[in-house]
Amino acid sequence: MNIEKRKKQKSVAKSDDTAPKKGTIKEKHKRSRQEKAEIRHTSVFMFPSLAGVLLFFVVPFFIVIVYAFVDNTTNMEFVGFENFSSLLNNSAFQMALRNTGIFSLISVPLVVILPLMLALILDTNIPLKSTFRTIFLSPMVVPAASVILIWQVLFNYNGVANDFLALFGVDKIEWFKSDYGIIVVVLLFLWKNIGYNMIMFMAALSAIPKEIVEVSMLDGCGSFRRFFSIKLRYLVSTISFVTIMSLINSFKVFREVYLLTGDYPYESMYTLQHFMNNTFGRFDYQKLSSAALVLSLVMILIISVLLWIDNRAGKEIEE
C-alpha cells in the first residue's frame, strides 16, 4: 500500500512538473539566482575546512595513487600492477592481513552482542542504572597507555590470569608470545569499546515508541517475545550500523597491541598498522602507496555497505 501511495505521489509530482511549463521555468530561474547568491555567501564558511582537507587528504591521496603505479619516486616509470602483486606476495603483509581478519572475526560479534545485552538490561527498571552506565562508559575516556601496565601484569607468565586458569587445571600460557596473544588484544578491545556501542543501543531502545511496548505487555506478551518480535525490529538498523562501525574500528586495533608489545610483536599480533609503520621506517613509498590504496578500496567497499544499510533503514522509518 505504501509503495502505491508513493508511486501516486511521484506521478502527481511529475504531472505538476510538466503541466504549466513556462511558469515553473521562470520560477526555477528566479530561485536559482537567489540560491546562487546564498551558495556563494556560504562557501566562504566552507573554504578553510575544504582547503585543509584537500591539502592534507585528497590531493596527496591522488599522489598516492600515482606512486602505487610507478617504479620509484624519482624515475616515475609506469609499472602497471607490479607494486600490487609484490605487496600481495609480501609475507609480512599477508600475515598482517590475516591477523587483522582473525581479530575482526572474533571481536566484532562480541563487541555487538555484549553491549546489546547490557543496553537491554539497563533499559529495564533496575536500580543504579546511571551508575552502571557511567562505569561501562568509563574505559572509553581512559587512555589505553595508562592502563596498559595492569594488562601486562595480568597476562604476565606468572601473572594473575595464569593463576586464575590454574584453578581449572590449565597450564601456564605465555600470553604475549603465543597465538593466545590475540585473546588479550580482544579483551582490551572489548573493554575499550563496549561502552560506546552500549550508548548507541540505549539511544535506539529509548527511541522505540512506548505505546507499542505497553500494548504488548497488556496483551500478555512475555519479555523474550517482546524482545524478538518488537524491539529487535526497531533495533535492526542500529545493530547493522554498530556492526559495521565496529568492523571499521577493529581495523584500527594497533594502538593497544603496540603499547602492549612494541614495534615487533609476536607473529599472531602483527597488525596492518605494524606493517605500515615498519614500511614507513624504510621509506618504501611504493609499498606504502599500494598498501594504502588496497586498504582504502576494501574500506570503500565496507562503507558502501554501511551507507546502503543506512539508506534502507531511513526509508523503513519513513514508511
Binding site: 540560491e35 555567501h41 556560504t42 566562504v44 564558511f45 566552507m46 578553510p48 575546512s49 585543509g52 582537507v53 596527496p60 591521496f61 599522489i63 598516492v64 547490557l118 538490561i121 527498571n125 533496575i126 543504579l128 546511571s130 552502571f132 557511567t134 561501562f136 562508559l137 568509563s138 575516556v141 587512555p143 589505553a144 595508562s146 592502563v147 601496565l149 595492569i150 601486562q152 601484569v153 606468572n158 601473572g159 604475549f176 608470545k177 573493554w191 560506546y196 550508548i199 539511544a203 550500523f241 571499521i248 584500527k252 594497533f254 594502538r255 603499547l259 612494541g262 609476536y266 598498522q273 605500515m276 609503520n277 614507513f280 606504502l288 594504502a292 582504502s296 574500506m299 562503507i303 554501511l306
Partner: protein, 317 residues
C-alpha cells in the same frame, strides 16, 4: 521532531512507573544485577588498580611485580621480554606514599614535559577543528547542493578510513611542507580531520529553516546568521564534539609514531610505553596523572558525551 531534539537534553528517561514485585521479576533483577556487577568490576578494575598502585613505594612495587618490564626484544621474534617470578596484584598498598608523584612532578620533569606535549597538541586541535568544522557544517547545512553533498560524502569516507590509509597522504603533504618532526605535523592534520564536520552538519540540518528565514527578513547576513543564531544553538553539541575530539587525541599513538622522529616531541600517550619498560613505580603515577584530565571531564559532562555518541549513531543526517 527538530524541537524535540534541540530541547531534550535527557534522552534516557530514568523515571518509570513502579510495578508490583513479582517473584519472576525478583529473579530477573538478581540475575541482571549479577551480570551488571561482574561487568562493572571488570570494567573498573584496570583504572582503579592503576590509580591505587601509583601510591606504592618503589620497593613495594618491585617486591610485588618484580622485573616484569625489563628488556626489549630487538628483532622480529619477541617484543618485550617479561621476567617475573611471582606477580602479586595488590589493590591497596601496604604503605601509602606520594613519593612516585613527587618524583614525576618535581624530581624528573622529563615526564611532565611529555604531559605538556600532549596539552600542546590536543588543545589547538580541539579549538581549531571546532572552528573550522562549524564553518563547513554551516555551509553544508544551509545550502545543500549536489556538489556539496558529494564533498560531504568524501568527508564521511575520510572519517571512516583507518590511519593505515590516511597517514600516508598526511605524510606526503607534511614532508613537502618540511613539517615532519615538528609539532605542526600532529596539529595540522588534526585540525582538518572531518570528524567534527560530520556530527555538526547533522545537528545543524535540524535547525528549522524558519529561523533562518526570519533572520533574513530582519536583514541578517550569513555571518550574523552563523554567529548569532547557529553557534548559540549549537553550544551543547559543540561541547559534546569537543569532548569526543579531546578523548580521541589525548589517546593518540599512531600519528606521533609516524610523523615524529624526535622522541622529545612525543606526547605522553606514546612516551608512557617507554616509561613502562624502565621504571614501573613512576609509570603508575604518570599513568594516573595522564588519565586525570579526561576522567574529570567525563565525570563533569557525561551527559554531553553520551549525546555526542548518540548523534554519531547514523551516517546520514
Amino acid at each position: 521532531m527538530t524541537e524535540d531534539i534541540l530541547l531534550d537534553s535527557s534522552r534516557f528517561p530514568e523515571k518509570r512507573k513502579k510495578r508490583k514485585l513479582k517473584p519472576k521479576r525478583v529473579i530477573f533483577v538478581i540475575l541482571a544485577m549479577i551480570i551488571l556487577i561482574t561487568f562493572a568490576v571488570l570494567f573498573l578494575f584496570p583504572t582503579v588498580f592503576t590509580f591505587t598502585n601509583s601510591f606504592m613505594s618503589t620497593t613495594e612495587i618491585s617486591a610485588n611485580y618484580g622485573k616484569i618490564f625489563t628488556g626489549l626484544g630487538v628483532s622480529g621474534d619477541g617484543g618485550r621480554v617479561f621476567i617475573a617470578d611471582k606477580v602479586n596484584l595488590k589493590l591497596i598498598p601496604d604503605k601509602v606514599t606520594l613519593s612516585q608523584y613527587f618524583t614525576v612532578l618535581v624530581k624528573s620533569p622529563n615526564y611532565l614535559l611529555k604531559f605538556w606535549n600532549s596539552v600542546i597538541y590536543v588543545l589547538p586541535i580541539v579549538i581549531f577543528q571546532l572552528l573550522v568544522a562549524s564553518g563547513a557544517s554551516f555551509a553544508f547545512a544551509r545550502m545543500d547542493t549536489k556538489f556539496r553533498a558529494l564533498i560531504f560524502f568524501v568527508y564521511i569516507v575520510l572519517m571512516l578510513m583507518p590511519y593505515q590509509v590516511t597517514l600516508v597522504p598526511n605524510y606526503l603533504t607534511l614532508d613537502k611542507l618540511n613539517l615532519i618532526d615538528t609539532r605542526f605535523a600532529i596539529i595540522l592534520p588534526g585540525v582538518f580531520s572531518p570528524f567534527a564536520v560530520f556530527i555538526l552538519t547533522k545537528y545543524m540540518k535540524r535547525i528549522p529553516s524558519a529561523i533562518v528565514e526570519a533572520a533574513k527578513l530582519d536583514g541578517a547576513g550569513e555571518f550574523q546568521i552563523f554567529f548569532r543564531i547557529f553557534l548559540p544553538i549549537c553550544k551543547g553539541v559543540l561541547y559534546s564534539v569537543a569532548i569526543l575530539i579531546f578523548i580521541d587525541y589525548w589517546n593518540m599513538v599512531e600519528q606521533p609514531l609516524i610523523l615524529l622522529k624526535n622522541t622529545e616531541l612525543y606526547p605522553l600517550s606514546v612516551f608512557l610505553s617507554k616509561i613502562n619498560e624502565g621504571d614501573t613505580g613512576i609509570a603508575f603515577a604518570t599513568a594516573s596523572i595522564y588519565m586525570f584530565p579526561p576522567i574529570l571531564m567525563f565525570l563533569y559532562s557525561e551527559e554531553y558525551l553520551v549525546e555526542g555518541i548518540a548523534y554519531s549513531a547514523s551516517v546520514k543526517g
